[in-house]
């Protein structure tokens, strides 16, 4: 399996899994406007998945489509961050997860627009515009709810405490990352951390939230070594149709 294929599935699996998670809110969000916003964000992410996994299939050259890769793999072949597979729990968790991811996503996509690989640069240029919009919105809600009522503040702090240990995985380098950096395609993940720390901490401070002190980071999602127990349950929902009716098409 080539490093480029692995890199593309990492990008596409992040947007696929987070997009599916957000779609779970459809029809159930706390307000109609938020319901629509979450569904629209999910749509953007699933659209980006089509591009990343579609390109992964082309690079692989085995005739797999984006749908094949999304719907016909099992947990151990997914390369998404553990952060994005964490369950929605309450709206505070959903928004905090989105905020931590969006801040990384924008920086990553922005760097990828300068990739030496033309298809990667084109997909990133398309996706970064959408990601910036997501990031503005999630940061705005983090501040509104963190610096909101006693109840909303407590829920946002609980979400941050639970999700913070999942942020570190975004900045861990491995051999695939080194190969991508050497090829001029992607930045080394660790190099994105200082700027992410700065903007994330500034927003959290404005939101009157306390940044957890621990530096422990859960890992194993983007390498595929060990996903959390939540991904498998999610896939039984997401892939149900293909599992029940293999090869069914629309």
């Amino acid at each position: 399996m080539s490093d480029l294929f692995t890199f593309l599935t990492r990008m596409g699996d992040n947007t696929l899994v987070l997009g599916h998670r957000l779609s779970e809110w459809c029809g159930r969000a706390p307000a109609l406007e938020e319901d629509i916003a979450l569904a629209n964000t999910a749509l953007d992410l699933i659209g980006q998945t089509q591009m990343w996994l579609g390109r992964a299939g082309e690079v692989e050259g085995a005739g797999r489509s984006a749908d094949d890769i999304a719907m016909l793999r099992d947990v151990w072949d997914f390369r998404n961050l553990l952060l994005v597979e964490q369950p929605n729990r309450d709206f505070g968790h959903t928004i905090t997860r989105q905020f931590l991811f969006d801040q990384w996503h924008v920086a990553q996509l922005d760097a990828l627009t300068r990739a030496t690989d033309a298809p990667v640069a084109a997909i990133a240029a398309k996706a970064v515009k959408e990601a910036r919009y997501h990031a503005e919105r999630s940061a705005g809600i983090v501040v509104a709810l963190g610096d909101g009522t006693e109840e909303s503040h407590a829920r946002m702090q609980a979400a941050l405490d639970r999700l913070w240990p999942f942020a570190g995985e975004m900045f861990q380098d491995d051999a695939t990352d080194t190969a991508m950096t050497d090829a001029g395609i992607a930045p080394l993940p660790s190099t994105l951390r200082p700027a992410w720390d700065e903007t994330v901490r500034a927003t959290l401070t404005e939101a009157t939230l306390t940044v957890p002190e621990g530096t422990f980071a859960h890992a194993g999602g983007r390498t595929g070594a060990r996903h959390s127990e939540h991904l498998g349950h999610m896939l039984t929902q997401m892939q149900w149709l293909q599992r029940a009716y293999p090869g069914a098409t629309w």
């Binding site: 629509i36 916003a37 999910a42 980006q48």
Partner: protein, 174 residues
């Protein structure tokens, strides 16, 4: 008694490829573009796909029509419908469609035509102007408030006019 075959589902492959009323076959690239300019956007039917600026190239190669379309938003559900509409319109005009999805450069609302701005406003949607606040498409008041950053389609946000109190859609700058 044998039942008649059901009508094809609109937009399905069977619908797209069925024989139907024919359009005149364009013989020049300009005529091909004119043909494409008759296809409405499926979600905002007052504007066409050429008004939207998503047709990036349209050239004839014998009876093959090479058309490049760029998606608006990555996940916009209208994208596949638009490709189907283009394909069926080209077939109806006796052409063989060769449709390419072109990502680069990414679509921007700067590519909306001036006609599109006027049609959107007349339809009650504030067009993308880059101003901090869109003017109310009903009473033209500049005093407006954002209700939600997202709306009924990926390209729109929800706003309210502080003067006439009517809610309206804003076609977001992108």
């Amino acid at each position: 008694m044998p039942r008649p075959a059901p009508a094809p589902v609109p937009g399905s492959r069977a619908d797209v490829t069925r024989p139907r009323a024919r359009h005149a076959t364009p013989s020049t690239d300009a005529a091909l573009l004119d043909l494409l300019a008759t296809i409405p956007d499926p979600e905002i039917p007052v504007i066409t796909i050429t008004d939207l600026g998503i047709v990036r190239a349209a050239t004839l190669d014998g009876t093959t029509a090479r058309v490049a379309i760029t998606p608006t938003y990555s996940g916009c559900p209208a994208t596949s419908l638009i490709a189907l509409a283009v394909e069926s319109r080209l077939r109806d005009a006796g052409l063989t469609p060769a449709i390419e999805t072109r990502l680069d450069p990414p679509w921007t609302t700067d590519w909306l035509t001036e006609a599109a701005h006027e049609k959107l406003r007349a339809y009650g949607i504030a067009p993308p102007t880059g101003a901090t606040r869109p003017r109310c498409p009903r009473c033209d008041s500049p005093a407006t408030t954002e209700i939600s950053r997202f709306g009924s389609t990926p390209c729109k946000a929800q706003w309210r006019c502080d003067a006439c109190a009517e809610p309206f859609d804003h076609f977001k700058c992108h």
